[in-house]
Point group: C2
Chain length 438, copies 2
């Protein structure tokens, strides 16, 4: 596969970074691509590999660089898009939530991990899968995702973690039995060093094959809106992940072929870059009348990309990151930061940051008004949308998709103020008053 630099356009066959220093992504020809149809008229005997039964993100086989990964890797993607009307007032718009917690390890990371591991599997020609190694530099969601996808496919996985990682989180990664190595010293530097390590294909936060998998989040969102008219492809209505939900009032996102805005957290810039790449490809395929605006959100305590955007700078400078509850997006030196600036400037949108207080309140609203338990990093989306609608950047009637990137199940929930305790004998009376009070 050919790799290309988004900025200088240089092409190469290998590597993750361009000579100009910017990250590379895979060159994809989307000309003539159309949304996959569901009806299969040809018998299996006639099917080409690419036309084998697929599910999840693999339905976009024509725009993906690998075959489906075996095991749970084949089940990645195809996540629900829920119409969450009860959050509209808080969000200040018509809100849909793309629930990435439905992926096998509970986060969007599985999309990039599955494609990254599949690439390694295919590259180890002749070699026994166990002879091939993938690696990643992460001590959070990406580490769990890479370890799980590798375990399921029978590929060896090396996970480099800092030596101060909490043992609790180490346990979540270790359960999938990767090769865990704690690295003493400048962990931040490892992102670049790891790409030079011998014999292991590192799938880091914004490397080309990860971006290739991560772009499918945006495909699914756009497909759900684009085909919401009962198009023969039928995708949004068939029980599949990309399916768009119909609201209480029977309203569906059918007044346009795309949402007005897509909002996601941003850390390294890999996912944000992937969403941009997906929109570029869909535009090339003439599947987008109007591209949604892109808003990427950071935690105020560590917001190098938002700072550069506010300063209208061309380059993101690393910052002295502070603590935030959204620790999984606290990247003080984002390797794809400049690419994110390019994305919002080309498509339209912004990079903004929100306070931990706003993130916590948004997380609470996700649970209380949408029934979704998200991690703080994912809650930055709703906090950002609320900020944007208050400032008039997003209007009440606009259709906005928040990408809820990860589950909050792995975190402790705040214990409630002790609820009333009632003797069994007094329960009926208690319930009667409760119901009449309401």
């Amino acid at each position: 596969m050919t790799l290309v630099c988004y900025r200088c356009g240089n092409e190469t066959e290998n590597g993750a970074r361009c000579a100009c220093g910017e990250p590379l992504w895979l060159k994809t020809d989307a000309t003539g691509f159309s949304w996959p149809a569901f009806v299969r008229t040809r018998s299996e005997s006639e099917l080409e590999p690419k036309q084998e039964p697929t599910s999840g993100l693999w339905r976009y086989a024509d725009l993906l660089p690998t075959e489906p990964l075996p095991g749970v890797g084949a089940a990645v993607g195809g996540t629900p898009l829920a119409r969450t009307e009860r959050l509209d007032e808080y969000a200040g718009c018509r809100l849909w939530v793309k629930d990435e917690s439905a992926n096998p390890t509970g986060t969007f990371k599985d999309r990039g991990s599955a494609v990254g591991v599949a690439h390694t599997l295919e590259s180890s020609v002749g070699a026994d899968a166990n002879g091939s190694w993938v690696g990643t530099v992460s001590h959070g969601n990406m580490a769990m995702s890479m370890a799980a996808m590798s375990a399921s496919a029978g590929v060896s996985c090396l996970v480099l973690v800092p030596d101060d990682i909490p043992t609790e989180r180490l346990g979540h990664i270790d359960q999938y039995d990767p090769e865990l190595v704690q690295v003493e010293g400048a962990y931040g530097k490892l992102y670049y060093d790891s790409l030079e390590l011998p014999g292991v294909r590192f799938v880091n936060s914004d490397t080309p094959y990860r971006v290739a998998g991560q772009k499918t989040t945006a495909y699914e969102i756009c497909e759900a809106f684009a085909t919401a008219h009962g198009d023969p492809a039928g995708s949004p209505f068939d029980g599949s992940g990309p399916g768009i939900q119909v609201s209480e009032s029977g309203e569906s996102a059918d007044s346009s072929d795309s949402p007005d805005a897509i909002v996601a957290p941003v850390s390294s810039g890999g996912h944000a870059s992937a969403i941009w790449k997906a929109l570029r490809e869909l535009r090339e395929a003439n599947l987008l009348d109007s591209a949604p605006r892109l808003y990427f959100v950071q935690a105020a305590a560590c917001d190098p990309i938002a700072r550069a955007f506010r300063a209208d700078a061309d380059e993101v400078r690393s910052v002295e990151g502070g603590d935030t509850i959204a620790y999984s997006i606290a990247n003080s030196d984002p390797p794809s930061g400049n690419r994110v600036l390019a994305a919002v400037r080309e498509i339209g949108g912004a990079v903004l940051s929100v306070s931990d207080g706003a993130i916590l309140d948004a997380k609470r609203q996700f649970a209380r008004r949408a029934g979704l338990c998200v991690e703080p990093a994912a809650a930055t989306t709703l906090a950002g949308i609320r900020h944007l609608s208050k400032s008039g950047e997003i209007s009440q009637d606009e259709r906005v998709v928040a990408v809820a990137t990860g589950t909050g199940f792995r975190e402790q929930s705040a214990s409630p103020t002790a609820p009333r305790s009632v003797p069994l004998s007094e329960l009926a009376g208690r319930v009667r008053s409760l119901v009449s009070d309401a």
Copy 2:
């Protein structure tokens, strides 16, 4: 809707239990039902409510008693079915895993909660949704699921928990902001008492509308196998939950229209009853050539149904349940226990129990060979399958589906033995030896 008793056949319009003492379920006419097609040829203006765009379990609208629930409730079901070849040797058969952790609150409970809450919403005719109350007796997954589905739909939810519930778990439930009431006294007795409480529709573990939602797990499994031939309905291949995965070798479950066996944990017997009901309906619709055998698994420390099965008894007697890591299925007095006995005797199969040691080992294998982090209760399936294949009850070439009922993300993972710590300067050498050792 008419309710009917599986045992004496008595019909009634209300209640959850038959005069004979056994649990009721909804009377469903499945004659003429066929797998939903995906292609939609009629314009939206012509669509009847039942034909509105649906996703997840709602695609089975013709066999469901309610309209889709708004919010995330509309995204319940449609979970992945993964072909997990790397577990075949351990399981002793050809294994597929139905990953119920992909539901919004991470467990199969969402299916029954969504239909149960939707029923309450529809029953409160004219009344503001906030004027209607649902309730449940649970201090675990079902409580979280009911609280989330209600929050998302704007229905008030009463959750009755014992007064000795761990505050940590109370927090997981409380985040969705239900009315939490701790009940002092005989908590076990509450299952029956709650059904008599005024003004609140209780959706307990095996009540009719919960069973109606829970049966969709079996629909999805059977549909995936039945349509794995590229049937025009195309469902298994379209990125939808019921999609069946193609294995590394290109093998798919296409040699029959149904799996040889479905294996699930059993606690109250509600889910097990629902799986049985689904198979009865699919048989009535002539969609099953051969019904899969049903195996239900309990933890040895609390296994009243398995005991009754082993003793070839007609009635399940309550037991003095001991502690088990599979606490979420430790029901010492299962309200649908007798119905589960009837299920395996009619369809064929068994109820068995496995030790905590076997459960822990199976949980480890789920993570290490399938990349799935499941709760101990869900791991009983793999432990049970291993036991059944060793005893010759399941053969190596049989196609078996394990229903992984819930996520393990909410539990602490065992911390690993401290991994090697390597100075940055020595990393390259360490990696080189690692890769060559492999």
